[in-house]
Symmetry: C2
Subunit: 224 residues, 2 copies
DNA sequence: GGCCTTGTTGTGCAAGTGTATAAATAGCCC
DNA sequence: GGGCTATTTATACACTTGCACAACAAGGCC
Protein backbone atom coordinates (compact mmCIF):
# COMPACT_ATOMS: atom_id res chain seq x y z
CA UNK A 1 0.00 0.00 0.00
CA UNK A 2 1.46 3.35 -1.06
CA UNK A 3 2.18 5.86 1.66
CA UNK A 4 2.12 9.64 1.42
CA UNK A 5 5.60 9.87 -0.05
CA UNK A 6 4.65 7.43 -2.76
CA UNK A 7 1.52 9.36 -3.55
CA UNK A 8 3.50 12.53 -3.96
CA UNK A 9 6.23 11.00 -6.08
CA UNK A 10 3.76 9.08 -8.21
CA UNK A 11 1.94 12.28 -9.13
CA UNK A 12 -1.36 10.81 -8.09
CA UNK A 13 -4.22 13.09 -9.07
CA UNK A 14 -4.81 15.16 -5.98
CA UNK A 15 -7.84 17.30 -5.50
CA UNK A 16 -7.30 21.02 -5.66
CA UNK A 17 -7.52 23.01 -2.46
CA UNK A 18 -10.19 25.67 -2.28
CA UNK A 19 -11.79 28.26 -0.06
CA UNK A 20 -15.47 28.85 0.43
CA UNK A 21 -16.32 32.45 -0.38
CA UNK A 22 -19.44 34.35 0.50
CA UNK A 23 -22.13 34.09 -2.10
CA UNK A 24 -22.16 37.76 -3.01
CA UNK A 25 -18.40 37.83 -3.32
CA UNK A 26 -18.34 34.84 -5.64
CA UNK A 27 -21.06 36.20 -7.85
CA UNK A 28 -19.24 39.51 -8.14
CA UNK A 29 -15.98 37.78 -8.94
CA UNK A 30 -17.63 35.65 -11.58
CA UNK A 31 -19.31 38.67 -13.16
CA UNK A 32 -16.05 40.59 -13.15
CA UNK A 33 -14.25 37.63 -14.70
CA UNK A 34 -16.99 37.47 -17.32
CA UNK A 35 -16.57 41.15 -18.21
CA UNK A 36 -12.81 40.71 -18.40
CA UNK A 37 -13.18 37.70 -20.67
CA UNK A 38 -15.64 39.45 -22.96
CA UNK A 39 -13.48 42.56 -23.17
CA UNK A 40 -10.40 40.56 -23.98
CA UNK A 41 -11.67 37.80 -26.24
CA UNK A 42 -15.19 38.83 -27.19
CA UNK A 43 -18.38 36.96 -26.57
CA UNK A 44 -17.02 33.96 -28.40
CA UNK A 45 -13.95 33.79 -26.22
CA UNK A 46 -15.86 34.15 -23.00
CA UNK A 47 -16.22 30.44 -22.38
CA UNK A 48 -17.24 29.09 -19.03
CA UNK A 49 -13.81 27.57 -18.59
CA UNK A 50 -12.01 30.81 -19.40
CA UNK A 51 -14.26 32.74 -17.05
CA UNK A 52 -13.78 30.22 -14.28
CA UNK A 53 -10.03 30.29 -14.74
CA UNK A 54 -10.01 34.07 -14.35
CA UNK A 55 -12.19 33.87 -11.30
CA UNK A 56 -9.89 31.28 -9.76
CA UNK A 57 -12.47 28.52 -9.67
CA UNK A 58 -13.41 25.60 -11.87
CA UNK A 59 -16.07 25.78 -14.53
CA UNK A 60 -18.60 23.62 -12.78
CA UNK A 61 -19.02 26.17 -10.01
CA UNK A 62 -20.61 28.68 -12.34
CA UNK A 63 -23.68 26.53 -12.60
CA UNK A 64 -24.01 26.75 -8.86
CA UNK A 65 -24.53 30.51 -9.09
CA UNK A 66 -26.12 30.99 -12.49
CA UNK A 67 -28.69 28.85 -14.32
CA UNK A 68 -26.65 29.03 -17.50
CA UNK A 69 -24.21 31.06 -19.50
CA UNK A 70 -26.86 33.34 -20.93
CA UNK A 71 -28.00 34.47 -17.51
CA UNK A 72 -24.42 35.13 -16.48
CA UNK A 73 -23.89 37.31 -19.53
CA UNK A 74 -27.12 39.19 -18.91
CA UNK A 75 -26.18 39.93 -15.34
CA UNK A 76 -22.74 41.00 -16.44
CA UNK A 77 -24.24 43.41 -18.95
CA UNK A 78 -26.64 44.79 -16.37
CA UNK A 79 -23.70 45.39 -14.06
CA UNK A 80 -21.81 47.19 -16.80
CA UNK A 81 -24.71 49.44 -17.74
CA UNK A 82 -25.38 50.27 -14.12
CA UNK A 83 -21.77 51.19 -13.55
CA UNK A 84 -21.57 53.36 -16.65
CA UNK A 85 -24.69 55.39 -15.99
CA UNK A 86 -23.81 55.75 -12.34
CA UNK A 87 -20.37 57.18 -13.12
CA UNK A 88 -21.75 59.43 -15.83
CA UNK A 89 -24.34 60.98 -13.57
CA UNK A 90 -22.00 61.27 -10.62
CA UNK A 91 -20.45 64.37 -12.16
CA UNK A 92 -23.75 66.21 -11.88
CA UNK A 93 -24.02 66.23 -8.12
CA UNK A 94 -22.32 69.58 -7.70
CA UNK A 95 -24.99 71.39 -5.80
CA UNK A 96 -23.21 74.69 -5.32
CA UNK A 97 -22.13 75.57 -8.83
CA UNK A 98 -23.41 77.68 -11.65
CA UNK A 99 -25.41 75.70 -14.21
CA UNK A 100 -22.86 76.40 -16.88
CA UNK A 101 -20.09 75.11 -14.66
CA UNK A 102 -22.07 71.98 -13.85
CA UNK A 103 -22.61 71.34 -17.54
CA UNK A 104 -18.91 71.80 -18.25
CA UNK A 105 -18.01 69.51 -15.38
CA UNK A 106 -20.43 66.93 -16.71
CA UNK A 107 -18.87 67.02 -20.16
CA UNK A 108 -15.37 66.89 -18.72
CA UNK A 109 -16.17 63.93 -16.50
CA UNK A 110 -17.59 61.99 -19.43
CA UNK A 111 -14.56 62.66 -21.60
CA UNK A 112 -11.85 61.52 -19.24
CA UNK A 113 -10.92 58.35 -17.44
CA UNK A 114 -12.49 56.24 -16.13
CA UNK A 115 -15.40 56.75 -18.49
CA UNK A 116 -13.15 57.02 -21.49
CA UNK A 117 -11.66 53.58 -21.32
CA UNK A 118 -10.82 51.03 -23.97
CA UNK A 119 -12.07 48.10 -21.92
CA UNK A 120 -15.44 49.66 -21.16
CA UNK A 121 -15.85 50.71 -24.76
CA UNK A 122 -15.03 47.25 -25.98
CA UNK A 123 -17.64 45.80 -23.66
CA UNK A 124 -20.22 48.38 -24.67
CA UNK A 125 -19.67 47.74 -28.36
CA UNK A 126 -19.68 43.99 -27.99
CA UNK A 127 -22.98 43.95 -26.15
CA UNK A 128 -24.69 46.73 -28.08
CA UNK A 129 -23.88 44.93 -31.29
CA UNK A 130 -26.39 42.31 -30.24
CA UNK A 131 -29.07 44.85 -29.34
CA UNK A 132 -30.89 44.74 -32.65
CA UNK A 133 -31.22 40.97 -32.32
CA UNK A 134 -31.81 40.80 -28.58
CA UNK A 135 -34.81 42.78 -27.28
CA UNK A 136 -33.59 42.52 -23.70
CA UNK A 137 -30.33 44.22 -24.61
CA UNK A 138 -32.13 46.82 -26.70
CA UNK A 139 -34.42 47.64 -23.83
CA UNK A 140 -31.60 47.92 -21.33
CA UNK A 141 -29.77 50.28 -23.63
CA UNK A 142 -32.79 52.48 -24.24
CA UNK A 143 -33.43 52.82 -20.54
CA UNK A 144 -29.88 53.94 -19.95
CA UNK A 145 -29.85 56.24 -22.95
CA UNK A 146 -33.09 58.00 -22.08
CA UNK A 147 -32.02 58.38 -18.48
CA UNK A 148 -28.78 59.96 -19.58
CA UNK A 149 -30.54 62.24 -22.04
CA UNK A 150 -33.01 63.38 -19.42
CA UNK A 151 -30.15 64.34 -17.16
CA UNK A 152 -28.66 66.33 -19.99
CA UNK A 153 -31.98 67.98 -20.72
CA UNK A 154 -32.38 69.02 -17.10
CA UNK A 155 -28.97 70.68 -17.00
CA UNK A 156 -29.59 72.37 -20.31
CA UNK A 157 -32.85 73.80 -18.97
CA UNK A 158 -30.99 75.19 -15.98
CA UNK A 159 -28.29 76.71 -18.11
CA UNK A 160 -30.74 78.40 -20.43
CA UNK A 161 -32.81 79.63 -17.50
CA UNK A 162 -29.71 81.14 -15.91
CA UNK A 163 -29.05 82.94 -19.19
CA UNK A 164 -32.65 84.15 -19.20
CA UNK A 165 -33.26 82.39 -22.48
CA UNK A 166 -36.55 80.70 -23.15
CA UNK A 167 -36.73 77.36 -24.89
CA UNK A 168 -39.76 75.21 -25.55
CA UNK A 169 -39.86 71.47 -25.01
CA UNK A 170 -38.98 70.68 -28.61
CA UNK A 171 -35.89 72.87 -28.57
CA UNK A 172 -34.85 71.45 -25.25
CA UNK A 173 -35.18 67.92 -26.59
CA UNK A 174 -33.14 68.75 -29.66
CA UNK A 175 -30.40 70.30 -27.56
CA UNK A 176 -30.29 67.23 -25.35
CA UNK A 177 -30.11 64.90 -28.35
CA UNK A 178 -27.32 66.92 -29.92
CA UNK A 179 -25.31 67.23 -26.72
CA UNK A 180 -25.72 63.54 -26.05
CA UNK A 181 -24.43 62.86 -29.54
CA UNK A 182 -21.42 65.10 -29.02
CA UNK A 183 -20.49 63.33 -25.81
CA UNK A 184 -21.08 59.88 -27.29
CA UNK A 185 -19.09 60.63 -30.40
CA UNK A 186 -16.12 62.06 -28.53
CA UNK A 187 -16.32 59.19 -26.05
CA UNK A 188 -15.93 56.74 -28.90
CA UNK A 189 -13.04 58.61 -30.46
CA UNK A 190 -11.26 58.88 -27.16
CA UNK A 191 -11.85 55.27 -26.22
CA UNK A 192 -10.69 53.95 -29.56
CA UNK A 193 -7.71 56.22 -30.02
CA UNK A 194 -7.02 58.00 -26.80
CA UNK A 195 -3.38 58.59 -27.63
CA UNK A 196 -4.37 60.68 -30.63
CA UNK A 197 -5.54 63.42 -28.30
CA UNK A 198 -3.64 65.35 -25.72
CA UNK A 199 -4.92 65.23 -22.13
CA UNK A 200 -7.98 67.35 -21.71
CA UNK A 201 -8.23 68.01 -25.41
CA UNK A 202 -11.39 66.01 -25.93
CA UNK A 203 -13.03 67.63 -22.93
CA UNK A 204 -12.12 71.08 -24.27
CA UNK A 205 -13.53 70.22 -27.69
CA UNK A 206 -16.64 68.82 -26.06
CA UNK A 207 -17.27 71.86 -23.90
CA UNK A 208 -16.82 74.22 -26.81
CA UNK A 209 -19.14 72.17 -29.02
CA UNK A 210 -21.80 71.90 -26.33
CA UNK A 211 -21.69 75.60 -25.53
CA UNK A 212 -21.86 76.42 -29.22
CA UNK A 213 -24.89 74.19 -29.53
CA UNK A 214 -26.56 76.15 -26.76
CA UNK A 215 -25.50 79.47 -28.21
CA UNK A 216 -23.47 80.46 -25.16
CA UNK A 217 -20.94 83.18 -25.64
CA UNK A 218 -17.36 81.91 -25.50
CA UNK A 219 -15.62 82.28 -22.15
CA UNK A 220 -13.44 85.34 -21.73
CA UNK A 221 -9.79 84.48 -22.10
CA UNK A 222 -10.55 80.87 -22.84
CA UNK A 223 -7.41 80.10 -24.78
CA UNK A 224 -6.56 76.75 -26.43
CA UNK B 1 -27.59 -5.02 -59.02
CA UNK B 2 -29.89 -2.10 -58.10
CA UNK B 3 -31.10 0.10 -60.91
CA UNK B 4 -32.00 3.77 -60.80
CA UNK B 5 -35.51 3.16 -59.43
CA UNK B 6 -34.09 1.10 -56.62
CA UNK B 7 -31.56 3.75 -55.78
CA UNK B 8 -34.31 6.34 -55.52
CA UNK B 9 -36.65 4.24 -53.42
CA UNK B 10 -33.84 3.01 -51.18
CA UNK B 11 -32.94 6.57 -50.20
CA UNK B 12 -29.35 6.03 -51.14
CA UNK B 13 -27.23 9.02 -50.16
CA UNK B 14 -27.13 11.06 -53.35
CA UNK B 15 -24.67 13.81 -53.93
CA UNK B 16 -26.06 17.29 -54.01
CA UNK B 17 -26.30 19.09 -57.33
CA UNK B 18 -24.27 22.25 -57.66
CA UNK B 19 -23.32 24.97 -60.08
CA UNK B 20 -19.88 26.38 -60.60
CA UNK B 21 -19.88 30.11 -60.05
CA UNK B 22 -17.27 32.62 -61.01
CA UNK B 23 -14.61 33.12 -58.39
CA UNK B 24 -15.45 36.74 -57.70
CA UNK B 25 -19.13 36.01 -57.42
CA UNK B 26 -18.54 33.22 -54.92
CA UNK B 27 -16.23 35.32 -52.80
CA UNK B 28 -18.76 38.13 -52.74
CA UNK B 29 -21.56 35.76 -51.83
CA UNK B 30 -19.52 34.23 -49.04
CA UNK B 31 -18.60 37.63 -47.66
CA UNK B 32 -22.20 38.79 -47.80
CA UNK B 33 -23.32 35.61 -46.07
CA UNK B 34 -20.67 36.23 -43.44
CA UNK B 35 -21.89 39.77 -42.79
CA UNK B 36 -25.47 38.54 -42.58
CA UNK B 37 -24.50 35.83 -40.12
CA UNK B 38 -22.52 38.22 -37.94
CA UNK B 39 -25.29 40.81 -37.96
CA UNK B 40 -27.88 38.22 -37.01
CA UNK B 41 -26.07 35.98 -34.55
CA UNK B 42 -22.88 37.80 -33.68
CA UNK B 43 -19.34 36.62 -34.17
CA UNK B 44 -20.03 33.52 -32.16
CA UNK B 45 -22.99 32.56 -34.30
CA UNK B 46 -21.14 33.12 -37.54
CA UNK B 47 -19.93 29.54 -37.91
CA UNK B 48 -18.57 28.27 -41.16
CA UNK B 49 -21.56 25.97 -41.52
CA UNK B 50 -24.06 28.77 -40.93
CA UNK B 51 -22.26 31.00 -43.40
CA UNK B 52 -22.09 28.27 -46.01
CA UNK B 53 -25.77 27.51 -45.55
CA UNK B 54 -26.64 31.15 -46.18
CA UNK B 55 -24.44 31.28 -49.24
CA UNK B 56 -26.03 28.12 -50.58
CA UNK B 57 -22.89 26.02 -50.52
CA UNK B 58 -21.34 23.53 -48.12
CA UNK B 59 -18.86 24.48 -45.47
CA UNK B 60 -15.87 22.86 -47.07
CA UNK B 61 -15.99 25.25 -49.99
CA UNK B 62 -15.07 28.20 -47.85
CA UNK B 63 -11.61 26.81 -47.42
CA UNK B 64 -11.25 26.86 -51.17
CA UNK B 65 -11.61 30.63 -51.22
CA UNK B 66 -10.22 31.67 -47.86
CA UNK B 67 -7.26 30.27 -45.92
CA UNK B 68 -9.32 30.17 -42.75
CA UNK B 69 -12.19 31.70 -40.87
CA UNK B 70 -10.13 34.60 -39.60
CA UNK B 71 -9.24 35.76 -43.09
CA UNK B 72 -12.87 35.51 -44.14
CA UNK B 73 -13.91 37.71 -41.24
CA UNK B 74 -11.17 40.22 -41.99
CA UNK B 75 -12.19 40.50 -45.61
CA UNK B 76 -15.79 40.84 -44.56
CA UNK B 77 -14.89 43.67 -42.22
CA UNK B 78 -12.82 45.37 -44.88
CA UNK B 79 -15.77 45.15 -47.22
CA UNK B 80 -18.03 46.67 -44.61
CA UNK B 81 -15.69 49.56 -43.84
CA UNK B 82 -15.17 50.23 -47.52
CA UNK B 83 -18.88 50.34 -48.15
CA UNK B 84 -19.53 52.64 -45.22
CA UNK B 85 -16.87 55.21 -46.03
CA UNK B 86 -17.75 55.11 -49.71
CA UNK B 87 -21.39 55.88 -49.01
CA UNK B 88 -20.49 58.54 -46.50
CA UNK B 89 -18.22 60.37 -48.89
CA UNK B 90 -20.54 60.00 -51.84
CA UNK B 91 -22.62 62.90 -50.54
CA UNK B 92 -19.68 65.23 -50.97
CA UNK B 93 -19.40 65.02 -54.73
CA UNK B 94 -21.66 67.98 -55.39
CA UNK B 95 -19.32 70.11 -57.41
CA UNK B 96 -21.65 72.99 -58.12
CA UNK B 97 -22.90 73.88 -54.67
CA UNK B 98 -22.02 76.36 -52.00
CA UNK B 99 -19.70 74.95 -49.32
CA UNK B 100 -22.33 75.38 -46.68
CA UNK B 101 -24.83 73.45 -48.79
CA UNK B 102 -22.33 70.70 -49.39
CA UNK B 103 -21.71 70.41 -45.67
CA UNK B 104 -25.44 70.26 -44.97
CA UNK B 105 -25.89 67.63 -47.67
CA UNK B 106 -23.05 65.63 -46.17
CA UNK B 107 -24.64 65.69 -42.73
CA UNK B 108 -28.04 64.82 -44.13
CA UNK B 109 -26.71 61.90 -46.12
CA UNK B 110 -24.98 60.47 -43.09
CA UNK B 111 -28.08 60.71 -40.94
CA UNK B 112 -30.54 58.93 -43.18
CA UNK B 113 -30.87 55.52 -44.73
CA UNK B 114 -28.94 53.65 -45.94
CA UNK B 115 -26.19 54.85 -43.63
CA UNK B 116 -28.45 54.89 -40.62
CA UNK B 117 -29.28 51.22 -40.54
CA UNK B 118 -29.63 48.75 -37.73
CA UNK B 119 -27.83 45.94 -39.56
CA UNK B 120 -24.83 48.07 -40.45
CA UNK B 121 -24.65 49.44 -36.93
CA UNK B 122 -24.80 45.95 -35.46
CA UNK B 123 -21.93 44.90 -37.69
CA UNK B 124 -19.91 47.99 -36.88
CA UNK B 125 -20.36 47.52 -33.15
CA UNK B 126 -19.60 43.82 -33.27
CA UNK B 127 -16.35 44.32 -35.12
CA UNK B 128 -15.24 47.49 -33.39
CA UNK B 129 -15.71 45.79 -30.06
CA UNK B 130 -12.74 43.64 -30.98
CA UNK B 131 -10.57 46.56 -32.07
CA UNK B 132 -8.77 47.05 -28.77
CA UNK B 133 -7.67 43.41 -28.83
CA UNK B 134 -7.09 43.04 -32.56
CA UNK B 135 -4.51 45.43 -34.05
CA UNK B 136 -5.67 44.67 -37.59
CA UNK B 137 -9.18 45.80 -36.77
CA UNK B 138 -7.91 48.82 -34.89
CA UNK B 139 -5.81 49.83 -37.84
CA UNK B 140 -8.64 49.40 -40.34
CA UNK B 141 -10.88 51.52 -38.17
CA UNK B 142 -8.34 54.28 -37.74
CA UNK B 143 -7.76 54.46 -41.46
CA UNK B 144 -11.46 54.86 -42.09
CA UNK B 145 -11.90 57.31 -39.25
CA UNK B 146 -9.04 59.56 -40.28
CA UNK B 147 -10.14 59.47 -43.89
CA UNK B 148 -13.60 60.51 -42.87
CA UNK B 149 -12.30 63.24 -40.59
CA UNK B 150 -10.07 64.62 -43.30
CA UNK B 151 -13.04 64.89 -45.60
CA UNK B 152 -14.87 66.77 -42.91
CA UNK B 153 -11.91 69.02 -42.32
CA UNK B 154 -11.67 69.87 -46.01
CA UNK B 155 -15.31 70.87 -46.21
CA UNK B 156 -15.02 72.86 -43.03
CA UNK B 157 -12.09 74.73 -44.50
CA UNK B 158 -14.11 75.57 -47.59
CA UNK B 159 -17.07 76.71 -45.53
CA UNK B 160 -14.96 78.99 -43.37
CA UNK B 161 -13.12 80.35 -46.39
CA UNK B 162 -16.42 81.17 -48.07
CA UNK B 163 -17.40 83.06 -44.93
CA UNK B 164 -14.08 84.89 -45.01
CA UNK B 165 -13.20 83.46 -41.63
CA UNK B 166 -9.70 82.48 -40.86
CA UNK B 167 -8.90 79.36 -38.90
CA UNK B 168 -5.56 77.83 -38.09
CA UNK B 169 -4.78 74.16 -38.36
CA UNK B 170 -5.51 73.48 -34.73
CA UNK B 171 -8.93 75.08 -34.87
CA UNK B 172 -9.70 73.24 -38.09
CA UNK B 173 -8.77 69.95 -36.51
CA UNK B 174 -10.92 70.62 -33.49
CA UNK B 175 -13.88 71.51 -35.66
CA UNK B 176 -13.43 68.31 -37.63
CA UNK B 177 -13.22 66.22 -34.47
CA UNK B 178 -16.33 67.80 -33.04
CA UNK B 179 -18.34 67.51 -36.24
CA UNK B 180 -17.27 63.94 -36.65
CA UNK B 181 -18.45 63.26 -33.12
CA UNK B 182 -21.81 64.90 -33.76
CA UNK B 183 -22.39 62.76 -36.83
CA UNK B 184 -21.21 59.59 -35.12
CA UNK B 185 -23.30 60.17 -32.05
CA UNK B 186 -26.47 60.90 -34.00
CA UNK B 187 -25.76 57.96 -36.26
CA UNK B 188 -25.70 55.68 -33.25
CA UNK B 189 -28.87 57.10 -31.80
CA UNK B 190 -30.67 56.80 -35.10
CA UNK B 191 -29.42 53.29 -35.78
CA UNK B 192 -30.35 52.02 -32.34
CA UNK B 193 -33.68 53.75 -32.02
CA UNK B 194 -34.68 55.13 -35.39
CA UNK B 195 -38.37 55.12 -34.59
CA UNK B 196 -37.80 57.57 -31.74
CA UNK B 197 -37.12 60.31 -34.27
CA UNK B 198 -39.35 61.70 -36.97
CA UNK B 199 -38.03 61.55 -40.55
CA UNK B 200 -35.40 64.15 -41.14
CA UNK B 201 -35.29 65.10 -37.48
CA UNK B 202 -31.82 63.74 -36.86
CA UNK B 203 -30.49 65.43 -39.97
CA UNK B 204 -32.01 68.74 -38.86
CA UNK B 205 -30.48 68.38 -35.41
CA UNK B 206 -27.16 67.47 -36.96
CA UNK B 207 -27.07 70.41 -39.33
CA UNK B 208 -27.94 72.85 -36.57
CA UNK B 209 -25.31 71.42 -34.25
CA UNK B 210 -22.65 71.45 -36.95
CA UNK B 211 -23.40 75.00 -37.99
CA UNK B 212 -23.40 76.11 -34.38
CA UNK B 213 -20.02 74.47 -33.93
CA UNK B 214 -18.71 76.50 -36.84
CA UNK B 215 -20.37 79.67 -35.62
CA UNK B 216 -22.49 80.06 -38.71
CA UNK B 217 -25.48 82.36 -38.41
CA UNK B 218 -28.77 80.46 -38.44
CA UNK B 219 -30.51 80.28 -41.79
CA UNK B 220 -33.19 82.88 -42.42
CA UNK B 221 -36.69 81.49 -41.92
CA UNK B 222 -35.33 78.14 -40.89
CA UNK B 223 -38.27 77.00 -38.80
CA UNK B 224 -38.50 73.68 -36.87
C1' DG C 1 -13.60 16.70 17.92
C1' DG C 2 -17.07 14.86 14.89
C1' DC C 3 -20.96 15.72 11.97
C1' DC C 4 -23.62 17.99 8.26
C1' DT C 5 -24.52 21.14 5.08
C1' DT C 6 -23.36 22.85 0.78
C1' DG C 7 -19.84 25.21 -1.81
C1' DT C 8 -16.54 23.27 -4.90
C1' DT C 9 -14.10 20.06 -7.72
C1' DG C 10 -13.47 16.74 -11.34
C1' DT C 11 -15.13 13.84 -14.92
C1' DG C 12 -18.13 12.62 -18.49
C1' DC C 13 -20.96 13.50 -22.50
C1' DA C 14 -23.39 14.96 -26.66
C1' DA C 15 -23.37 18.62 -29.76
C1' DG C 16 -20.83 21.70 -32.43
C1' DT C 17 -16.34 23.85 -33.96
C1' DG C 18 -12.57 24.73 -37.60
C1' DT C 19 -9.70 22.27 -40.46
C1' DA C 20 -7.97 18.54 -43.51
C1' DT C 21 -8.66 15.66 -47.36
C1' DA C 22 -10.61 12.30 -50.51
C1' DA C 23 -14.17 11.62 -53.74
C1' DA C 24 -17.34 13.39 -57.29
C1' DT C 25 -18.88 16.24 -60.95
C1' DA C 26 -19.73 20.64 -63.72
C1' DG C 27 -18.29 22.84 -67.45
C1' DC C 28 -14.61 24.33 -70.66
C1' DC C 29 -11.52 22.94 -74.59
C1' DC C 30 -10.63 20.15 -78.47
C1' DG D 1 -18.86 13.58 -77.33
C1' DG D 2 -14.69 12.68 -74.26
C1' DG D 3 -11.39 13.99 -71.39
C1' DC D 4 -9.18 17.47 -67.83
C1' DT D 5 -9.27 20.46 -64.40
C1' DA D 6 -10.48 22.65 -60.50
C1' DT D 7 -14.80 23.80 -58.15
C1' DT D 8 -17.71 21.62 -55.00
C1' DT D 9 -19.35 18.02 -51.96
C1' DA D 10 -18.95 14.94 -48.26
C1' DT D 11 -16.73 12.72 -44.59
C1' DA D 12 -13.42 12.36 -40.96
C1' DC D 13 -10.94 14.19 -37.04
C1' DA D 14 -9.19 16.43 -33.08
C1' DC D 15 -10.71 19.73 -30.17
C1' DT D 16 -13.84 22.83 -27.60
C1' DT D 17 -18.18 24.00 -25.84
C1' DG D 18 -22.08 24.18 -22.30
C1' DC D 19 -24.16 21.35 -19.24
C1' DA D 20 -25.05 17.32 -15.89
C1' DC D 21 -23.72 14.87 -11.96
C1' DA D 22 -21.21 12.30 -8.55
C1' DA D 23 -17.63 12.71 -5.33
C1' DC D 24 -15.33 15.48 -2.07
C1' DA D 25 -14.00 18.64 1.59
C1' DA D 26 -14.31 23.42 4.06
C1' DG D 27 -16.02 25.34 7.73
C1' DG D 28 -19.94 26.34 10.89
C1' DC D 29 -22.36 24.10 14.69
C1' DC D 30 -23.04 21.34 18.62
Amino acid sequence: MPDAADLASMNVPSRRKFRREGEERRRQDLIEATLDSVAEHGLQGATLRAIALRAGVTAGLIRHYFPGKEELLQEAYATLVGRMTEQAKAALVMEDALPRQRLAAFVTANLNAPIIDARVFSLWATFIGRASADPALAHAHREGYLGFRNEVEAVVAEVLAAERRKADASQLRHHAIAINAIIDGLWIEGSLAGEMFSPGELAAIGIRAVEAELGLAPEEGGSQ
